[in-house]
């Protein structure tokens, strides 16, 4: 159900569609190649190291470090109602990177490159359909605490 991922989703069909199911249940999953063991985030079905298509999901902690960020004022279609919003790119503790919005636990003036962050699975409570994403929050923020906060 990858169509659940993102406020606007551009590619509902993928070999890693179970990612969105896991995210809905509060789990951030990367991938691990069953043949050579190469781990990846974002998850990928096909290993570009050994070319195997055999993979499994591996849960990531969501512990992360901020690499860069920007506050977007001029928003594209589908994001006008949430603009301006701040996106950040983080290095994940295990491996790989992700890009996400900053959540409510961090204000703009607290954002600094190199800061420690927690990636937290989220559900758009305000939308009628199921829409999941993840946000960048203060360390210690959990899925359950962000749930009760919304």
């Amino acid at each position: 159900m990858f169509k659940w991922f993102g406020k606007v989703n551009f590619c509902p069909y993928t070999k890693v569609s179970e990612f969105a199911n896991h995210l809905k249940d509060g789990h951030l999953m990367g991938s691990k190649c069953k043949k050579c063991g190469y781990e990846s985030f974002p998850p990928r079905a096909d290993c570009d190291r050994c070319l195997s298509g055999d993979f499994e999901y591996k849960e990531f902690s969501g512990l992360a470090t901020l690499v860069t960020y920007t506050k977007i004022h001029a928003a594209p279609t589908g994001f006008e109602d949430v603009a301006p919003y701040t996106v950040g790119v983080v290095d994940l503790k295990e491996t790989g990177r992700l890009l996400a919005w900053f959540g409510d636990t961090i204000s703009d003036d607290e954002i600094m490159i190199g800061m420690e962050l927690q990636v937290v699975p989220r559900i758009f409570e305000e939308l009628p359909e199921i829409k999941v994403y993840y946000s960048l929050e203060k360390p210690g923020t959990t899925w359950s605490t962000s749930e009760s906060a919304t």
Partner: protein
């Protein structure tokens, strides 16, 4: 390898061209190039069109352009690598001539960007990045370069003012280019008053969409030696890629594709960065030009901000860059941009650049980036 020479150049007016279709824009540049080269169009044995299809209502653009130019039945095809499509077209023609399949080719970069409505543009803007994991958070083209800028500022202390000095320089030279979209100088105060786009960028950090076309005529060494005009030899041509996703880039303070493409181009031409007398670089955003100074080796890593602050990229400085106004002031009709860069360098090598002429410009360079750096093409051009 045989040498490939550029023997004709043509460049139309960039801007909001509500007066013309894309094939009519292509014709303006093509006619000028044919007249410049003083050749019979019947001798052309193929064309390559550089353009990005999703902006046009007309599907399969090469067909309509080839017909309108009167070039049937010789072959044509399209190259597409986002904003580097024009340089990809030149490389493809260079390959055709190198291989001996072709001898004389027309390369036309052309783009009509104002056919789309604002909602259509906004929808396209939201799909510029990798759509599975990034565009779902509303990323935009400026946002990616803004994140490069944040990294560069953090790592090297590059300042807001240094970024805007790139825009000030390019508007300064754009004012001297009759084909430019914006022909007026700007001040740092005016730039700082402009609307925010994506922090730290404001409107004046960003190039503008435009309509336009440019054309170059490429010839085999044998034909080029008979050229009516001084030949610009395409002696170095490098191209390279990097991950499309910002999540898989090894660093965010430069473009690995530009480093690799320039390494190849310098090696092929047997020159180094200090030999380049004039350069056209891909300043889609202010930080992009600063990163280009570094990726191309005009200055050390991290010294790009100081390079512009010290006016080293002005005429009279170490390496004059974008003295035609760059994407910033000239406008950025995507597919035409790479060809436009080559046209400007050929003008410089021929000493036909008028009040923006760089003295003793015997070797020039173009640096044309696609997207957020997933593609980069670098050319080294030399006169006899």
């Amino acid at each position: 390898m045989t040498r490939v020479g550029i023997i004709g150049i043509g460049h139309g007016q960039f801007g909001r061209r509500s007066d013309a279709t894309v094939q009519e824009l292509a014709f303006e540049a093509y006619r000028e190039a044919i007249e410049d080269a003083q050749i019979d169009p019947k001798d052309i044995d193929g064309s390559v069109i550089g353009s990005v299809p999703e902006y046009h209502k007309q599907r399969s653009l090469p067909g309509v352009v080839q017909e309108y130019l009167g070039l049937n039945p010789i072959p044509t095809w399209l190259t597409e690598v986002a904003c580097a499509s024009g340089s990809a077209a030149i490389r493809t023609a260079w390959m055709g001539i190198q291989s001996g399949v072709h001898r004389l080719m027309a390369v036309i970069g052309c783009q009509k960007m104002t056919e789309l409505s604002t909602p259509e543009i906004l929808a396209l803007m939201g799909r510029v990045g990798e759509v599975q994991w990034e565009s779902v958070f509303g990323t935009t083209f400026p946002a990616y370069y803004a994140m490069f800028a944040k990294s560069h500022m953090h790592e090297y202390g590059t300042t807001r003012e240094q970024l805007l000095q790139v825009a000030i320089k390019n508007h300064f030279y754009g004012a001297k280019n009759p084909n430019a979209l914006f022909r007026k100088e700007i001040t740092i105060e005016k730039a700082l008053e402009s609307d925010p786009v994506s922090d730290p960028f404001q409107v004046y950090d960003c190039c503008a969409n435009a309509d336009g076309a440019a054309c170059v005529i490429l010839a085999s060494e044998e034909i080029a030696k008979e050229s009516a005009k001084p030949v610009a030899w395409l002696d170095g041509i490098g191209c390279a890629t990097a991950s499309m996703s910002i999540l898989r880039r090894p660093k965010l303070t430069g473009l690995p594709s530009a480093e690799e493409a320039s390494r190849v181009a310098y090696e092929m031409a047997g020159v180094g960065p200090k030999d380049i007398k004039v350069a056209e670089v891909h300043d889609c955003f202010t930080i992009a030009e600063i990163m280009a100074y570094e990726d191309l080796g005009f200055c050390d890593k991290g010294a790009g901000g100081r390079f512009i602050e010290d006016k080293q990229s002005y005429i009279g400085g170490q390496t004059p860059v974008n003295v035609d106004g760059g994407l910033k002031a000239k406008g950025h009709p995507i597919g035409a941009t790479g060809v436009s860069m080559t046209v400007e360098i050929v003008k410089q090598l021929r000493e036909e650049a008028g009040e923006r002429q760089v003295p003793n410009a015997d070797i020039g360079l173009t640096h044309n980036v696609g997207g957020i750096g997933q593609y980069c093409f670098v050319q080294v051009l030399r006169r006899d």
